[in-house]
Symmetry: C2
Subunit: 176 residues, 2 copies
Protein backbone atom coordinates (compact mmCIF):
# COMPACT_ATOMS: atom_id res chain seq x y z
CA UNK A 1 0.00 0.00 0.00
CA UNK A 2 2.68 2.42 0.96
CA UNK A 3 4.99 0.98 -1.55
CA UNK A 4 7.53 3.43 -2.88
CA UNK A 5 7.33 4.03 -6.57
CA UNK A 6 9.23 6.47 -8.68
CA UNK A 7 6.74 8.23 -10.87
CA UNK A 8 9.29 8.97 -13.54
CA UNK A 9 12.12 6.55 -12.87
CA UNK A 10 14.96 7.85 -14.97
CA UNK A 11 14.65 11.44 -16.08
CA UNK A 12 17.09 13.61 -17.96
CA UNK A 13 19.37 15.64 -15.75
CA UNK A 14 18.01 14.19 -12.57
CA UNK A 15 17.30 17.08 -10.29
CA UNK A 16 15.69 15.63 -7.22
CA UNK A 17 12.32 16.79 -6.06
CA UNK A 18 9.90 15.07 -3.73
CA UNK A 19 9.41 11.38 -4.20
CA UNK A 20 5.81 10.74 -5.01
CA UNK A 21 4.33 7.82 -3.19
CA UNK A 22 1.17 6.00 -4.10
CA UNK A 23 -1.17 6.97 -6.91
CA UNK A 24 -0.80 10.70 -7.20
CA UNK A 25 -3.78 12.96 -7.53
CA UNK A 26 -4.87 14.73 -10.63
CA UNK A 27 -6.73 17.88 -11.24
CA UNK A 28 -10.24 16.78 -10.26
CA UNK A 29 -9.27 15.65 -6.82
CA UNK A 30 -7.03 18.64 -6.45
CA UNK A 31 -9.23 21.56 -7.01
CA UNK A 32 -12.24 19.79 -5.60
CA UNK A 33 -12.47 21.24 -2.14
CA UNK A 34 -9.40 23.21 -1.30
CA UNK A 35 -7.08 20.31 -0.68
CA UNK A 36 -3.95 22.24 -1.31
CA UNK A 37 -2.76 23.77 1.92
CA UNK A 38 -0.63 26.29 0.11
CA UNK A 39 -3.60 27.68 -1.73
CA UNK A 40 -5.41 27.88 1.57
CA UNK A 41 -2.58 29.91 3.00
CA UNK A 42 -2.45 32.18 0.01
CA UNK A 43 -6.10 33.04 0.31
CA UNK A 44 -5.22 34.69 3.60
CA UNK A 45 -1.68 35.98 3.19
CA UNK A 46 -1.33 35.85 -0.57
CA UNK A 47 -1.27 39.60 -1.08
CA UNK A 48 1.70 41.89 -0.79
CA UNK A 49 -0.08 44.12 1.68
CA UNK A 50 -0.98 41.26 4.02
CA UNK A 51 2.56 39.91 4.16
CA UNK A 52 4.28 43.21 4.76
CA UNK A 53 1.77 44.23 7.40
CA UNK A 54 2.53 41.00 9.18
CA UNK A 55 6.22 41.63 8.76
CA UNK A 56 5.77 45.03 10.34
CA UNK A 57 3.77 43.50 13.18
CA UNK A 58 6.64 41.10 13.84
CA UNK A 59 8.95 44.08 13.89
CA UNK A 60 6.83 45.46 16.69
CA UNK A 61 4.52 47.84 14.84
CA UNK A 62 1.19 48.17 16.61
CA UNK A 63 -0.58 51.40 15.86
CA UNK A 64 -2.36 52.10 12.60
CA UNK A 65 -0.13 55.03 11.91
CA UNK A 66 3.02 53.01 12.47
CA UNK A 67 1.85 50.16 10.30
CA UNK A 68 0.91 52.32 7.34
CA UNK A 69 3.96 54.54 7.46
CA UNK A 70 6.52 51.80 7.80
CA UNK A 71 4.96 49.59 5.18
CA UNK A 72 4.44 52.43 2.76
CA UNK A 73 0.89 51.29 2.13
CA UNK A 74 -1.87 53.80 1.56
CA UNK A 75 -4.36 54.33 4.38
CA UNK A 76 -7.15 52.76 2.42
CA UNK A 77 -5.30 49.59 1.58
CA UNK A 78 -3.84 49.20 5.04
CA UNK A 79 -7.23 49.65 6.69
CA UNK A 80 -8.89 47.15 4.42
CA UNK A 81 -6.17 44.57 4.79
CA UNK A 82 -5.92 44.98 8.55
CA UNK A 83 -9.62 44.44 8.85
CA UNK A 84 -9.29 41.27 6.83
CA UNK A 85 -6.39 40.09 8.93
CA UNK A 86 -8.46 40.65 12.06
CA UNK A 87 -11.41 38.82 10.51
CA UNK A 88 -9.14 35.94 9.56
CA UNK A 89 -7.82 35.73 13.09
CA UNK A 90 -4.21 36.73 12.48
CA UNK A 91 -4.47 39.92 14.48
CA UNK A 92 -6.67 41.38 17.17
CA UNK A 93 -7.39 44.94 18.08
CA UNK A 94 -6.69 45.67 21.69
CA UNK A 95 -7.76 48.78 23.54
CA UNK A 96 -4.78 50.71 24.74
CA UNK A 97 -4.65 53.76 26.94
CA UNK A 98 -1.74 56.09 26.98
CA UNK A 99 -1.63 57.99 30.27
CA UNK A 100 -3.27 61.31 29.70
CA UNK A 101 -4.79 60.65 26.32
CA UNK A 102 -7.83 58.81 25.17
CA UNK A 103 -8.17 55.13 24.46
CA UNK A 104 -6.65 53.79 21.28
CA UNK A 105 -6.56 50.50 19.57
CA UNK A 106 -3.49 48.53 18.80
CA UNK A 107 -3.09 45.68 16.39
CA UNK A 108 -1.35 42.68 17.86
CA UNK A 109 -0.60 39.33 16.32
CA UNK A 110 -2.61 36.37 17.52
CA UNK A 111 -1.10 32.95 17.91
CA UNK A 112 -2.21 32.15 14.40
CA UNK A 113 -0.44 35.24 13.14
CA UNK A 114 2.65 34.47 15.14
CA UNK A 115 2.65 31.00 13.66
CA UNK A 116 3.78 32.62 10.43
CA UNK A 117 7.20 33.07 11.98
CA UNK A 118 8.88 30.36 9.89
CA UNK A 119 7.20 31.66 6.74
CA UNK A 120 8.51 35.16 7.38
CA UNK A 121 12.01 33.94 8.12
CA UNK A 122 12.04 31.66 5.10
CA UNK A 123 10.88 34.42 2.77
CA UNK A 124 13.45 36.85 4.14
CA UNK A 125 16.20 34.34 3.72
CA UNK A 126 15.18 33.50 0.19
CA UNK A 127 14.78 37.17 -0.71
CA UNK A 128 18.30 37.84 0.49
CA UNK A 129 19.54 35.38 -2.09
CA UNK A 130 18.01 37.37 -4.92
CA UNK A 131 20.63 40.07 -4.83
CA UNK A 132 19.88 43.72 -4.44
CA UNK A 133 20.94 45.92 -1.55
CA UNK A 134 22.22 43.87 1.33
CA UNK A 135 21.15 46.50 3.79
CA UNK A 136 17.87 46.35 5.63
CA UNK A 137 16.53 44.55 8.63
CA UNK A 138 18.42 41.51 9.76
CA UNK A 139 17.12 38.92 12.18
CA UNK A 140 19.51 37.40 14.66
CA UNK A 141 19.37 35.07 17.61
CA UNK A 142 19.39 37.22 20.73
CA UNK A 143 21.35 34.56 22.56
CA UNK A 144 24.35 34.31 20.29
CA UNK A 145 23.98 37.04 17.70
CA UNK A 146 23.99 34.71 14.71
CA UNK A 147 21.56 35.34 11.84
CA UNK A 148 18.45 33.23 11.46
CA UNK A 149 17.76 30.60 8.85
CA UNK A 150 14.73 28.53 8.01
CA UNK A 151 15.06 24.79 8.32
CA UNK A 152 12.95 21.75 7.62
CA UNK A 153 12.64 18.95 10.06
CA UNK A 154 10.38 16.02 10.66
CA UNK A 155 8.44 15.74 13.89
CA UNK A 156 10.91 13.11 15.01
CA UNK A 157 13.57 15.78 14.95
CA UNK A 158 15.61 14.78 11.92
CA UNK A 159 16.79 17.39 9.47
CA UNK A 160 15.11 16.74 6.15
CA UNK A 161 16.37 17.63 2.71
CA UNK A 162 14.37 17.69 -0.50
CA UNK A 163 15.76 14.33 -1.49
CA UNK A 164 14.55 12.83 1.77
CA UNK A 165 11.04 14.12 1.31
CA UNK A 166 8.17 11.92 0.26
CA UNK A 167 4.91 13.39 -1.00
CA UNK A 168 1.96 11.13 -0.49
CA UNK A 169 -1.75 11.59 -0.75
CA UNK A 170 -3.66 11.44 2.45
CA UNK A 171 -7.26 10.45 1.80
CA UNK A 172 -9.63 11.34 4.57
CA UNK A 173 -12.55 9.11 3.79
CA UNK A 174 -14.83 12.08 3.37
CA UNK A 175 -18.55 11.71 2.93
CA UNK A 176 -19.73 11.53 -0.63
Amino acid sequence: MTHPRADRPESPEERPVFTRVGGFVDRDAWTAEGWCKIERSLEVVGTRSAMILIREAFYGGRRFDELTRRTGLSDAVAAKRLKQLVDDGLMTQQPYREPGSRTRHEYVLTDRGRALFPVVVALMEWGAGLGGPSAGVELVHAGCGEPLAAAVRCTAGHDVSIEDTQARVKRSRSRR
Copy 2:
Protein backbone atom coordinates in the same frame (compact mmCIF):
# COMPACT_ATOMS: atom_id res chain seq x y z
CA MET B 1 25.82 51.85 19.11
CA THR B 2 24.23 48.45 19.14
CA HIS B 3 22.67 49.15 22.44
CA PRO B 4 19.47 47.23 23.06
CA ARG B 5 16.46 49.40 23.44
CA ALA B 6 12.86 48.41 23.77
CA ASP B 7 10.95 50.55 21.36
CA ARG B 8 7.79 50.39 23.42
CA PRO B 9 8.95 49.25 26.83
CA GLU B 10 5.76 48.23 28.57
CA SER B 11 2.81 47.58 26.33
CA PRO B 12 -0.65 46.33 27.16
CA GLU B 13 -1.10 42.59 26.92
CA GLU B 14 2.51 41.93 26.14
CA ARG B 15 2.57 39.61 23.19
CA PRO B 16 6.17 39.14 22.26
CA VAL B 17 7.40 39.99 18.83
CA PHE B 18 10.92 40.67 17.66
CA THR B 19 13.04 42.86 19.86
CA ARG B 20 14.03 45.90 17.89
CA VAL B 21 17.64 46.85 18.31
CA GLY B 22 19.17 50.18 17.45
CA GLY B 23 17.34 53.09 15.90
CA PHE B 24 14.72 51.45 13.77
CA VAL B 25 14.10 52.54 10.23
CA ASP B 26 11.14 54.50 9.03
CA ARG B 27 9.38 54.74 5.78
CA ASP B 28 11.90 56.72 3.78
CA ALA B 29 14.75 54.33 4.36
CA TRP B 30 12.40 51.43 3.88
CA THR B 31 10.90 51.94 0.52
CA ALA B 32 14.03 53.60 -0.80
CA GLU B 33 15.66 50.82 -2.75
CA GLY B 34 14.02 47.53 -2.04
CA TRP B 35 15.49 46.96 1.37
CA CYS B 36 12.80 44.62 2.52
CA LYS B 37 13.73 41.10 1.55
CA ILE B 38 10.18 39.91 1.86
CA GLU B 39 9.00 42.38 -0.73
CA ARG B 40 11.82 41.24 -2.95
CA SER B 41 10.62 37.68 -2.63
CA LEU B 42 7.04 38.62 -3.30
CA GLU B 43 7.94 40.32 -6.53
CA VAL B 44 8.97 36.91 -7.81
CA VAL B 45 6.68 34.44 -6.05
CA GLY B 46 3.97 36.78 -4.83
CA THR B 47 1.28 35.49 -7.15
CA ARG B 48 -0.92 32.48 -6.60
CA SER B 49 0.05 31.00 -9.95
CA ALA B 50 3.77 31.23 -9.23
CA MET B 51 3.54 29.51 -5.88
CA ILE B 52 1.35 26.65 -6.99
CA LEU B 53 3.42 26.03 -10.09
CA ILE B 54 6.43 25.75 -7.83
CA ARG B 55 4.52 23.48 -5.52
CA GLU B 56 3.70 21.28 -8.48
CA ALA B 57 7.33 21.29 -9.58
CA PHE B 58 8.33 20.09 -6.12
CA TYR B 59 5.75 17.34 -6.45
CA GLY B 60 7.60 16.23 -9.56
CA GLY B 61 5.59 17.88 -12.33
CA ARG B 62 7.75 18.63 -15.32
CA ARG B 63 5.80 18.83 -18.54
CA PHE B 64 3.64 21.81 -19.47
CA ASP B 65 0.59 19.63 -19.65
CA GLU B 66 1.20 18.17 -16.21
CA LEU B 67 1.79 21.54 -14.63
CA THR B 68 -1.32 23.16 -16.00
CA ARG B 69 -3.63 20.25 -15.36
CA ARG B 70 -2.54 19.60 -11.80
CA THR B 71 -2.54 23.24 -10.82
CA GLY B 72 -5.85 23.95 -12.47
CA LEU B 73 -4.40 27.05 -14.12
CA SER B 74 -5.43 28.05 -17.61
CA ASP B 75 -2.91 27.53 -20.40
CA ALA B 76 -2.40 31.22 -20.85
CA VAL B 77 -1.67 31.98 -17.23
CA ALA B 78 0.54 28.95 -16.79
CA ALA B 79 2.57 29.78 -19.88
CA LYS B 80 3.04 33.37 -18.87
CA ARG B 81 4.02 32.52 -15.32
CA LEU B 82 6.35 29.71 -16.33
CA LYS B 83 8.13 32.04 -18.68
CA GLN B 84 8.54 34.52 -15.87
CA LEU B 85 9.81 31.83 -13.52
CA VAL B 86 12.38 30.82 -16.12
CA ASP B 87 13.41 34.44 -16.62
CA ASP B 88 13.74 34.88 -12.88
CA GLY B 89 15.95 31.82 -12.66
CA LEU B 90 13.68 29.56 -10.62
CA MET B 91 13.22 27.04 -13.39
CA THR B 92 14.97 26.02 -16.55
CA GLN B 93 13.68 24.34 -19.65
CA GLN B 94 15.56 21.22 -20.51
CA PRO B 95 15.31 19.35 -23.75
CA TYR B 96 14.00 15.88 -23.19
CA ARG B 97 13.67 13.04 -25.63
CA GLU B 98 11.29 10.20 -25.10
CA PRO B 99 12.47 7.15 -27.03
CA GLY B 100 10.54 7.09 -30.27
CA SER B 101 9.04 10.54 -30.12
CA ARG B 102 10.34 13.97 -30.82
CA THR B 103 12.20 16.24 -28.47
CA ARG B 104 10.23 17.97 -25.77
CA HIS B 105 10.99 20.47 -23.11
CA GLU B 106 10.64 19.93 -19.43
CA TYR B 107 10.55 22.48 -16.69
CA VAL B 108 12.88 21.71 -13.81
CA LEU B 109 13.60 23.69 -10.70
CA THR B 110 16.96 25.39 -10.46
CA ASP B 111 18.84 25.64 -7.21
CA ARG B 112 17.22 28.99 -6.62
CA GLY B 113 13.81 27.42 -7.10
CA ARG B 114 14.68 24.50 -4.89
CA ALA B 115 15.78 26.96 -2.22
CA LEU B 116 12.10 27.68 -1.71
CA PHE B 117 11.79 24.35 0.04
CA PRO B 118 11.42 25.84 3.54
CA VAL B 119 8.94 28.39 2.25
CA VAL B 120 6.79 25.68 0.72
CA VAL B 121 6.91 23.54 3.83
CA ALA B 122 6.17 26.48 6.09
CA LEU B 123 3.20 27.57 4.01
CA MET B 124 1.81 24.04 3.89
CA GLU B 125 2.14 23.67 7.61
CA TRP B 126 0.50 26.99 8.30
CA GLY B 127 -2.28 26.29 5.82
CA ALA B 128 -3.01 23.02 7.57
CA GLY B 129 -3.74 24.99 10.71
CA LEU B 130 -6.47 26.96 8.99
CA GLY B 131 -8.97 24.13 9.05
CA GLY B 132 -10.69 22.80 5.99
CA PRO B 133 -10.34 19.31 4.58
CA SER B 134 -7.47 17.46 6.14
CA ALA B 135 -6.97 15.38 3.03
CA GLY B 136 -4.48 16.28 0.37
CA VAL B 137 -0.79 15.89 -0.12
CA GLU B 138 1.25 15.24 2.96
CA LEU B 139 5.03 15.56 3.15
CA VAL B 140 6.95 13.08 5.24
CA HIS B 141 10.54 12.22 5.97
CA ALA B 142 11.41 9.24 3.80
CA GLY B 143 13.72 7.96 6.50
CA CYS B 144 11.26 7.68 9.34
CA GLY B 145 7.85 8.46 7.92
CA GLU B 146 7.16 11.41 10.20
CA PRO B 147 5.53 14.57 8.78
CA LEU B 148 7.60 17.63 8.04
CA ALA B 149 7.60 20.89 9.94
CA ALA B 150 9.28 24.21 9.35
CA ALA B 151 11.72 25.38 11.98
CA VAL B 152 13.81 28.45 12.64
CA ARG B 153 17.41 28.22 13.68
CA CYS B 154 20.39 30.47 13.85
CA THR B 155 23.49 29.64 11.86
CA ALA B 156 25.11 28.49 15.08
CA GLY B 157 22.51 25.74 15.22
CA HIS B 158 20.31 26.91 18.07
CA ASP B 159 16.55 26.68 17.80
CA VAL B 160 15.17 30.20 17.86
CA SER B 161 11.76 31.32 19.01
CA ILE B 162 10.10 34.65 18.33
CA GLU B 163 11.04 35.87 21.78
CA ASP B 164 14.68 35.08 21.11
CA THR B 165 14.72 37.03 17.88
CA GLN B 166 16.28 40.44 17.53
CA ALA B 167 15.57 42.66 14.54
CA ARG B 168 18.30 45.10 13.82
CA VAL B 169 19.07 47.38 10.93
CA LYS B 170 22.08 46.52 8.89
CA ARG B 171 23.43 49.57 7.13
CA SER B 172 25.64 48.79 4.20
CA ARG B 173 27.41 52.08 3.61
CA SER B 174 26.18 52.18 0.04
CA ARG B 175 27.46 54.70 -2.45
CA ARG B 176 25.51 57.94 -2.69
